[in-house]
Amino acid sequence: MEAVRRVISVVVLNEASVLSRITDLFSGRGYNITSLTVAPIPKSKYSRLTIVTSGSMRVIEQITKQLHKLIPVLKVIEHCDAVEKEMVLVKFSSDNSISDIETVCNAYNGKIVNAGDGFVIALVADESQRMDNFLDAIEHFHPKEIVRSGTVALER
């Protein structure tokens, strides 16, 4: 069966070792994690995880069921129509033309967020595919460091 990409949001009790329960489940049962983001939900006892994974339809079905089976899991949302964003921070040497970098960032709704002695840091937040394109586009500026976050998603 063909592998499909899926974004799954999981609402879990914000308690000790809950993240290991989730990652242990993935490693123990041989599921993929492409990316994982987690943060507490404000004013609640829950956290929200966004997991990007891939697998056959049967595997995806098992992933959602097995996640739901974990005791501290409140809700599992398999996204089908969601707004997805991820974020990247890139550090460039200021030997580059800053305005050129800024132009590329603008094209991807990003901006320069910090500048220091000999470097600038740009931030871009967009969909995963657009992020890949952005990283291709800045390659010739020879970025010194790239940090890319996982995906967050919200169903429309």
Binding site: V12, A16, R58, E61, K65, Q66, H68, K69, L74
Partner: protein, 564 residues
């Protein structure tokens, strides 16, 4: 009321009506053992190894349906118990296992007897807790018992640091457990159940495929009624043995790798498989692409994750089996016509006549199958049967006349050698009226042999019947069939004198070469009512047949193989 964490553990066990705890003390759990010393509400059975404590709790839980409780110390005490936790997890056995842990201030410092216990048990328990404040203890223990016994049952592990057992806090056990994130489904969807019954009505060759869930949900009575009402033939898995009586005319034995010819043919030819609490284990299905090829599948299970995990299901029903089967009967009583399935039943019976489960007698050698049948004849319903893992386990499933649920207690999913004897101790403690028989092999029995001491000391008269072929028989059978008879490390010719061994612990031992000797030994052991080992010298080269080679199709069975 303000009490110590250790006292809280005792109070919680009393509140949960625990009458027996199996365990082994050690440094980190001494505060709790001190409180055990001071109380009279439950008994504590000191096993001689932590693994055995958990298996004994499993035996207790499996035979009684209650939650089994085991207690162990930190570090090696805990790691020794892991096999038991994993075993209980695979077979959905309700357990609460409490372990000591080094004090909070030492956690993470590689302290003496420290190990990340919850890190290890996470993947082999239904849930686990590290208690970091005695204030949480009442809630955690109450949740542990609730989680272990509800939904799909399973083991829950509670790890308690030593300083928490000394901490003094308020104990209030009256707050009901409320878990917003855990709400197991009990009632099945009625529309879905109706659809399933309509599918049964339309089917020509339906087959009940009964699994361990029938026993876990105490649904045997209802399942018996449903089978009788519909006149549909049924197979039961290893875990479900005893759900139907052995002499039920609609029971077509056990399917799978060592299932009967008729059961496997029925599984292959059915056009509607009605799975009641079975989980399509690979030892049952054989090659998946050929499994139940012509069949639509109804699957009733309390665990949604078990449905469509292995095989795509057409009629999924999530719910407690007992509820669902009751619903099914209400609907079925007015729509199902028994006569419709008679031709199918006849062809299944024909399969059974063609190749019934059988073995060939030999005048010189005792056959293991005969021994098991004989135990059945002599003790039948009066015995609870535990087994270890291997050939003897399969022969027991094939040849013992099980007449009630919870009569067979064995390690199905994990296949843990060494399970049988300690489990039989737990079984005997929970059901003292019945004879507790452990049918074992000469390989398995040595894996928890130290429990002779527990059984003798506590006067728990378990009878071990060792089907002794001086081999690690099941592995040898595979080596013979698939490794060109290279019997690598499976020859167990070197053995202890089991009679003297039993005697040295204060039990009784017998060596048996003939049928007459076997009868005499078993009768004597039952009559004397003490811990016994019956060393039965069986045909060394007997194999478990039929056999579906690993990964083969269910209908391609090896029916006979003469090794020597």
């Amino acid at each position: 009321m303000k009490i110590s964490g250790a006292q809280m553990v005792i109070e919680a066990l009393i509140a949960e009506n625990v009458d027996t705890v199996f365990g082994y003390p050690g440094g980190a759990i001494m505060n709790i053992y001190d409180e055990i010393y001071k109380q009279n509400s439950f008994k504590h059975i000191l096993t001689r190894h932590e693994q055995a404590a958990v298996h004994a709790a499993e035996g207790y839980a499996k035979v009684s349906g209650k939650v089994g409780v085991a207690m162990i110390t930190s570090g090696p005490g805990f790691t020794n118990a892991v096999t038991g936790l994993a075993d209980a997890y695979m077979d959905s056995v309700p357990l609460v296992v409490i372990s000591g842990q080094v004090p909070m201030s030492l956690i993470g410092t590689d302290a003496f007897q420290e190990i990340d216990a919850v890190g290890i048990s996470r993947s082999c328990t239904k849930h686990n807790y590290l208690v970091t404040d005695a204030k949480d203890l009442p809630r955690v223990l109450k949740e542990a018992f609730y989680i272990a016994s509800s939904g799909r049952p399973g083991p829950v592990h509670v790890d308690i640091p030593k300083d928490i057992t000394a901490q003094i806090e308020v104990f209030d056990y009256s707050t009901p457990t409320h878990l917003e994130t855990y709400k197991p489904t009990v009632k099945g969807n009625v529309r879905q159940i109706k659809k399933a019954v309509m599918a049964i009505k339309e089917a020509k060759r339906p087959l009940f495929y009964i699994g361990g869930g029938a026993i876990n949900s105490n649904a045997a009575q209802e399942v018996r009624e449903l089978v009788k009402m519909t006149g549909i033939p049924a197979v039961e898995t290893f875990m479900a043995r005893g759900t139907l009586r052995y002499d039920d005319p609609l029971l077509i034995s056990m399917p799978g790798m060592h299932g009967s010819y008729a059961a496997n043919m029925a599984m292959s030819e059915t056009d509607l498989m009605i799975s009641l609490g079975a989980r399509f284990d690979d030892r049952v299905t054989g090659k998946l692409s050929e499994f139940a090829k012509h069949a639509k599948i109804i699957h009733v299970d309390v665990d949604p994750a078990s449905i469509s995990k292995i095989v795509k299901v057409d009629y999924p029903i999530v719910g407690d089996l007992r509820h669902v089967v009751k619903n099914m009967m209400e609907i079925a009583s007015s729509v199902i016509e028994k006569e419709r399935y008679e031709p199918w039943l006849e062809s299944v019976e024909h399969f059974d006549k063609l190749h019934p489960l059988s073995y060939k007698e030999d005048s010189d050698k005792l056959k293991p199958q005969w021994v098991i049948q004989r135990v059945g004849e002599l003790l039948g319903e009066c015995a609870n049967i535990t087994t270890d893992v291997g050939q003897h386990q399969m022969w027991t499933a094939q040849f013992y006349p099980f007449s009630r649920p919870r009569q067979l207690i064995s390690s199905g999913g994990l296949g843990t050698m060494g399970f049988g004897f300690p489990a039989a101790i737990g079984v005997k403690v929970a059901d003292f009226e019945r004879v507790s028989i452990n049918i074992t092999g000469d390989g398995s029995i040595l894996m928890n042999i130290q429990e002779l001491m527990t059984a003798v000391e506590k006067k728990i008269p378990v009878i071990n019947i060792i089907l002794n072929n001086n081999f690690l028989g099941m592995v040898r059978q595979w080596q013979t069939l698939f490794y060109d008879k290279r019997h690598s490390e499976t020859d167990l010719s070197m053995q202890p004198d089991f009679v003297m061994l039993a005697r040295s612990f204060g039990g009784i031992g017998y060596v048996v070469h003939t049928k007459e000797e076997f009868d005499a030994a078993l009768n004597d052991a039952v009559e004397k009512n003490i811990v016994a080992m019956i060393d039965v010298r069986i045909d060394r080269f007997e194999n478990v047949m039929p056999m579906v080679p690993s990964g083969g199709s269910l209908f391609n069975m090896m029916l006979e193989y003469k090794e020597k």
